[in-house]
C-alpha cells in the first residue's frame, strides 16, 4: 500500500477487500509506536497484546463484518476516555492504575465499527492545559520539533497521528484541546457540535463545554470517524437526539457560493505574522474555488477567554470533587489513627492533583462561592449568551466563520509553564466554539519557515459539521502541504 493510503478510509478498504489483514495493519502501527514513542511519549498505555488479539478477531470475522465502517482501523484514544479494564488516568497521579469497569459510549461505538484500539494517549491532567506539559506522566513532544510542545490537552492524540503511530485518534475539546494540538502538529482536528457525540465515559472537565472528536490525517478520515462517534445516546441527557447526516457523500470539493466570514478585528493584535500569512493564503485558495469571503463582527469574542476561565474551572471544581480517595485511585497514606476523613481528603487531593488542576479547582470554587457567584459565574454565563448571539447573527450572513486556530505556532517545552496567563491567552481563537457549543475544525494550513505547522480554523452552524468538512476537503485538495510529514517521522 502506498504511504498516502495509510489513512482510515484506505485501511478500511484494504482490510475489507482482503488486501491487508487487520493484524498486519495493527502490527505496522504497534511497531511504529515501539520505534518512535521513546522520543515522542504520545502514549500513556500501549495495548500491544490486546490490540493484536482484537485485530485477529477482526480478521476472523472479516466476512460478516465487511460493512463495518472502521474495519481493522487502529485508533488511539485519549486517556480521559474510559476503556474497560484498561488504565484510564486522565494524565493524573490521582488515577494512577485506575481501570474503569466500563467502556465509554464512543469506545463501544469504535469497537462496534470494527476498530482496533492500540493505546491511550497522553494529555494534560484532566485535559487542563494547552501543551501536554501538565501530564503527571511527563510531556509529549511535537513530532515536527522535539523540543516543542505538541499542544494540548490532546497532545498525545495529535502527535500520534502526526508521527504515523495511528491513522486516527480520539481527543476531547473543552476550550480547543482537539483543534489546538491538531494545528500545532499539522493534522485535522474536529470538535463536533456540543451534543453531537455522547460524553458518557468521558472523565468530565467542564461538562457544558466538553466534546469528543477525531484527529486524523485527512478531512475524509475525520468525517468517517465522526460518523461512527456521532448519534443519540440514552446515557447522555445532553446528547442530541438527532441522528447525524451521512457524511460520506459530502466531498465534491465544491465550495462555490459558500460564504466564509472573517472576524478581522479579532485578528488585529497578537497574531504571529507567519500565522496570518498562512491564514490569508488558505482563504485565497478557497476564494479561488468560488467561496465568498467577507468580514463578520463578533464584538463579544474578546471576552471569551475570561468567560471560559470562569465557567470551565467552576464546573471542574465540582466535577473533580469525586476524586477523594474513598472508592478508587490514589489514597494518601495516613500515619496515626487519629487522622479523620477530612485529612484523608486533603492529603489525597494534595498529593494526587498537579499544580494546574489545583489552580483551576481553586479558581472555580471561588467563582461559585456565596457572595461571588453572581459577579463571576452568573455574569460569565450572561456574556456566554452574548457570544452565542454574535455567532447566530454572523451565521445569518455566512456559512462558516474562519480564524487561525492559534495565534502562534508551537512554543518550546517549558516556555510558558510558569506563566499560566500567557498559556490561557493562546486559547483566544478556540474557546468561543466551546462556549457557544458550535462545531469547529482545525485544518493544516502549511508550515512556518522553521517548518512548524499552522492551523486554519472554521466554526460552523449548530450540527452543521458537514459544511466544515466540505470546506476542509476543498482546502485539502489544493493545499501544497497536504503530503508533508514531520521529517523525523516520515
Amino acid at each position: 500500500m502506498a504511504p498516502g493510503a495509510w489513512t482510515v478510509t484506505g485501511i478500511r478498504a484494504a482490510v475489507a477487500g482482503g488486501d491487508l489483514s487487520a493484524r498486519e495493519v495493527c502490527a505496522h502501527y504497534l511497531d511504529r509506536i515501539a520505534a518512535t514513542d521513546g522520543r515522542l511519549h504520545a502514549f500513556t498505555t500501549v495495548l500491544r497484546e490486546a490490540a493484536l488479539a482484537r485485530a485477529d478477531e477482526v480478521d476472523a470475522r472479516r466476512a460478516s463484518w465487511r460493512d463495518r465502517p472502521l474495519l481493522g482501523v487502529p485508533i488511539a484514544v485519549k486517556d480521559v476516555i474510559c476503556t474497560r479494564g484498561v488504565p484510564t488516568t486522565a494524565g493524573s497521579r490521582i488515577l494512577a492504575g485506575y481501570r474503569p469497569p466500563y467502556d465509554a459510549t464512543v469506545v463501544s461505538r469504535l469497537l462496534d465499527a470494527g476498530a482496533v484500539i492500540v493505546g491511550k494517549t497522553n494529555c494534560d491532567e484532566f485535559a487542563m492545559g494547552s501543551s501536554t506539559e501538565h501530564s503527571a506522566y511527563g510531556p509529549t513532544r511535537n513530532p515536527w520539533a522535539l523540543d516543542r510542545i505538541p499542544g494540548g490537552s490532546s497532545g498525545g492524540a495529535a502527535a500520534a497521528v502526526a508521527a504515523g503511530q495511528a491513522p486516527a485518534s480520539i481527543g476531547t475539546d473543552t476550550g480547543g484541546s482537539i483543534r489546538q494540538p491538531a494545528a500545532l502538529c499539522g493534522v485535522v482536528g474536529l470538535k463536533p457540535t456540543y451534543g453531537r457525540v455522547s460524553r458518557y465515559g468521558l472523565l468530565a472537565f467542564a461538562s457544558s463545554l466538553d466534546q469528543i472528536g477525531p484527529l486524523t490525517w485527512t478531512v475524509a478520515d475525520a468525517a468517517a470517524v465522526l460518523q461512527v462517534l456521532a448519534g443519540p445516546d440514552p446515557r447522555d441527557a445532553t446528547a442530541s437526539t438527532e441522528p447525524p447526516p451521512d457524511l460520506s457523500r459530502l466531498f465534491p470539493g465544491n465550495v462555490r457560493g459558500t460564504r466564509i466570514g472573517v472576524p478581522r478585528v479579532a485578528l488585529a493584535d497578537g497574531v504571529d505574522p507567519e500565522v496570518l500569512d498562512a491564514f490569508g493564503a488558505a482563504l485565497a485558495m478557497l476564494s479561488d474555488r468560488g467561496a465568498e469571503v467577507c468580514d463578520v463582527d463578533l464584538p463579544h469574542m474578546q471576552y471569551a477567554v475570561p468567560v471560559y476561565y470562569l465557567v470551565a474551572p467552576a464546573e471542574a471544581s465540582s466535577n473533580l470533587a469525586r476524586y477523594d480517595g474513598v472508592r478508587y485511585g490514589h489514597r494518601a497514606k495516613l500515619d496515626g489513627a487519629a487522622a479523620g476523613v477530612s485529612e484523608m481528603y486533603a492529603r489525597t487531593r494534595s498529593e494526587g492533583f498537579g499544580a494546574e488542576v489545583k489552580r483551576r479547582i481553586m479558581l472555580g470554587t471561588y467563582a461559585l462561592s456565596a457572595g461571588y457567584y453572581d459577579a463571576y459565574y452568573v455574569h460569565a454565563q450572561r456574556v456566554r449568551s452574548l457570544i452565542r448571539n454574535d455567532f447566530d447573527r454572523a451565521f445569518a450572513a455566512v456559512d462558516a466563520v474562519a480564524m487561525p486556530t492559534t495565534p502562534t505556532p508551537a512554543f518550546r517545552i517549558g516556555e510558558r509553564i510558569d506563566d499560566p496567563l500567557a498559556m490561557y491567552l493562546g486559547d483566544v481563537f478556540t474557546v468561543s466554539a466551546n462556549l457557544t457549543g458550535l462545531p469547529a475544525i482545525s485544518l493544516p494550513a502549511g508550515l512556518t519557515q522553521a517548518r512548524l505547522p499552522i492551523g486554519f480554523q472554521l466554526v460552523g452552524r449548530p450540527f452543521d459539521e458537514a459544511t466544515l468538512l466540505r470546506i476542509g476537503d476543498a482546502l485539502e485538495r489544493d493545499a501544497p502541504w497536504s503530503d508533508e510529514r514531520p521529517p523525523a517521522f516520515a
Binding site: 476516555i81 474510559c82 484510564t88 486522565a90 488515577l95 485506575y98 474503569p100 469497569p101 466500563y102 465509554a104 460524553r199 458518557y200 465515559g201 468521558l202 472523565l203 468530565a204 467542564a206 461538562s207 457544558s208 440514552p234 446515557r235 447522555d236 441527557a237 445532553t238 467552576a314 464546573e315 471544581s317 465540582s318 473533580l320 470533587a321 469525586r322 476524586y323 477523594d324 474513598v326 472508592r327 478508587y328 489513627a337 476523613v341 481528603y345 470554587t365 461559585l368 462561592s369 456565596a370 457567584y373 459565574y377
Partner: protein, 493 residues
C-alpha cells in the same frame, strides 16, 4: 411573657419508582445485599452521567398537584456541592431555585381547629449512600453501602405556618396519608423512606418578626417529632425567659434521653456552591402532561371519606377513621365488595365490616403495633367470619375468639370453627340435656328462682353455656332455661 411557637417542616420522601433517580439500578435497595444495586452512575465513577427518571418527575408533579401547588413550566436540576463519604460524586444533584412544584397548601385538622399550612416547594433530588461506622476500639473504620445512593428523594418544604407540636404532628400525619393515597412512596418512617426535619423558633406573642430558629434532625417517628418539638419549645422558652438568645444551629433529637443536643452551629454551615447541573438540560414541563396527571390523580382521603358515607351509609366518624390511612380504606372496601350487595343489605354489611375493623381487629393490630396492611386476617377471612356470625353458626362472643385465633394463626375462620367444634348449637334437642344437667346440678339456684329471685335464671343460663362450651345459641338457652324453670314453678304451684 407569652411566646408564640413557629414551626416549619422539611419532609424527605423516597419515591417508589422501579429504578433510581439517574440510572437504571433498581430502587428497592432495602432488602438487597450490600452494594448490589450499583452501577457506574450511582457509584459516581469517573465519566458516568445522570439521566432523569421520568417517573420520579411524574410522582413529584402528582404530589405537587395533590398539595395544590403550581407546576411551573421551567424546572432544572442543580448541584449541591459538599464533601462527605456518603456522597459519591462530591455533590448531590438537587433542585435549587426552580423546583418542580411551588406555592401549595395542605389542610390539617387538630382538636382545636382546621387550618391550611402553606407548602413552599416540592423538589426532587437523589438520596445518598449509607455509612456504617466502627469505633476505634473495633478498628476505627467506616463502611459504605452504596445501594441507597441515587434513590429518588422528594423534598417537601412547608411554610413556617405551624404554631404547636400538635399542628406539626397533624401536618405530618396528613401528608403521610396523602403520599400513601397517591402511591408515590411507601412513606415508611422506620425504614427511612419518610424523614422529617423541623425548623422551630419562638417569638413574643403578637410579634411579626421571627426569632432565631433551630433545625431539629434525627426524629424517627411521629411521636418523636411531637416530643422533640415540645422539648425544643420548652428549651427555647427557658433560654428566652432567662434573658438569653437562642443560638441558630442544628440540633439532634436523642430518642433515649428525650432531649435535643447541638450538632452544628450556623458558622459551620456549608457553602453548597449551588450551580445549574450541566449534565442535565433544564426540563420543559408540558402543561398538557400536567393536566393529564391531574386527571388521573387517585381518590384522596377526603373524597373517599365522603364516598364511604354516600355509598355505604357509614357515619362521618366511622368513614373518617376508615379513610385516615389508605391501607385501612382499601381493606375496608375490599372486604365490603367481596359480596355483590346493594341497598340496605350493603349498608348493613358495611357497618359489620366497619365495626369489626375499628373494634376487635384494630385492637389486635394495635397490641402488636401492626399496620392493617400487615394484618394476618385478610378481608376475605373477615367477611367469612362475619358470615359465620350472621348465619348464626357461631355467636358474636365466639366470633371474637375465632378472630383472635385467625389473627394468631392466619387460619381461615370457617376452618377454625370446624376444627375446634365451635359450631353454635341451635338444635333444641341438643341443648335440652344441658339444661336438665344444669338444673339438676344446681338445686339451690332453682330453689332461689322459685323463691322469687329471678336473677338465679341468669346464673343457670351461664351454667348451660359452660356445659356446652359456649356453643349453644344464647337466645335458645335463655328460652329453654326459662321454660324449664316455669315448668318447675308450675309443678310446685
Amino acid at each position: 411573657m407569652e411566646y408564640e411557637t413557629v414551626i416549619g417542616l422539611e419532609v424527605h420522601v423516597q419515591l417508589r419508582t422501579q429504578s433510581k433517580m439517574f440510572c437504571s439500578c433498581r430502587a428497592d435497595y432495602q432488602s438487597a445485599p450490600v452494594n448490589s444495586r450499583v452501577c457506574p452512575v450511582c457509584l459516581g465513577l469517573p465519566g458516568a452521567l445522570p439521566v432523569i427518571n421520568r417517573r420520579a418527575v411524574e410522582y413529584t408533579v402528582m404530589t405537587g398537584l395533590a398539595l395544590n401547588c403550581d407546576i411551573p413550566r421551567l424546572t432544572k436540576f442543580d448541584r449541591k456541592n459538599y464533601p462527605y463519604p456518603d456522597l459519591m460524586k462530591g455533590y448531590q444533584i438537587s433542585q435549587y431555585d426552580l423546583p418542580l412544584a411551588i406555592d401549595g397548601r395542605l389542610q390539617i385538622e387538630t382538636e382545636a381547629e382546621t387550618k391550611a399550612v402553606g407548602v413552599t416547594r416540592v423538589h426532587l433530588e437523589e438520596d445518598v449512600a449509607k455509612l456504617q461506622h466502627f469505633p476505634a476500639d473495633s478498628g476505627g473504620y467506616s463502611l459504605v453501602d452504596v445501594n441507597r445512593s441515587g434513590v429518588p428523594l422528594m423534598e417537601i418544604v412547608s411554610e413556617p405556618d405551624m404554631r404547636s407540636a400538635e399542628e406539626a404532628r397533624a401536618y405530618l400525619t396528613t401528608l403521610h396519608s396523602l403520599l400513601q393515597y397517591l402511591g408515590v412512596s411507601t412513606a415508611n418512617m422506620q425504614d427511612g423512606s419518610f424523614r422529617c426535619d423541623a425548623n422551630i423558633s419562638l417569638r413574643p406573642a403578637g410579634s411579626e418578626e421571627f426569632g432565631n430558629r433551630t433545625e431539629i434532625k434525627n426524629m424517627n417517628s411521629f411521636r418523636s417529632v411531637f416530643q422533640a418539638l415540645n422539648f425544643e419549645i420548652e428549651r427555647q422558652r427557658r433560654v428566652l425567659e432567662g434573658g438569653g438568645r437562642v443560638v441558630q444551629e442544628t440540633r439532634g433529637w436523642i430518642e433515649g434521653r428525650a432531649v435535643t443536643v447541638s450538632q452544628r452551629s450556623k458558622e459551620d454551615a456549608h457553602d453548597y456552591r449551588y450551580f445549574p447541573e450541566p449534565d442535565l438540560p433544564p426540563l420543559d414541563i408540558d402543561p398538557v402532561w400536567v393536566e393529564e396527571i391531574r386527571g388521573r390523580l387517585p381518590e384522596l382521603a377526603t373524597q373517599r371519606c365522603a364516598r364511604f358515607q354516600q355509598d355505604y351509609g357509614l357515619s362521618e366518624y366511622d368513614a373518617r377513621l376508615l379513610t385516615d390511612s389508605k391501607a385501612m380504606a382499601d381493606y375496608f372496601e375490599t372486604a365490603v365488595c367481596l359480596q355483590a350487595l346493594s341497598g340496605d343489605a350493603l349498608n348493613s354489611h358495611a357497618k359489620q365490616v366497619s365495626n369489626w375493623m375499628l373494634g376487635d381487629l384494630s385492637g389486635l393490630l394495635n397490641q402488636d403495633n401492626r399496620d392493617i396492611s400487615e394484618s394476618p386476617v385478610s378481608p376475605e377471612s373477615l367477611v367469612e367470619l362475619i358470615g359465620l356470625v350472621g348465619d348464626g353458626i357461631i355467636s358474636v362472643t365466639m366470633g371474637k375468639t375465632v378472630l383472635e385465633e385467625a389473627y394468631n394463626t392466619g387460619g381461615k375462620p370457617r376452618r377454625i370453627v370446624e376444627e375446634r367444634g365451635y359450631t353454635q348449637i341451635s338444635d333444641t334437642s341438643a341443648v335440652e340435656p344441658a339444661v336438665f344437667e344444669a338444673l339438676e346440678a344446681n338445686p339451690r339456684a332453682v330453689a332461689d328462682y322459685l323463691g322469687g329471685k329471678e336473677s338465679a335464671a341468669k346464673f343457670l343460663v351461664g351454667q348451660v353455656m359452660k356445659i356446652t362450651r359456649g356453643q349453644a345459641k344464647p337466645d335458645l338457652v335463655n328460652q329453654l332455661v326459662t321454660a324449664a324453670l316455669d315448668r318447675a314453678k308450675a309443678g310446685v304451684d
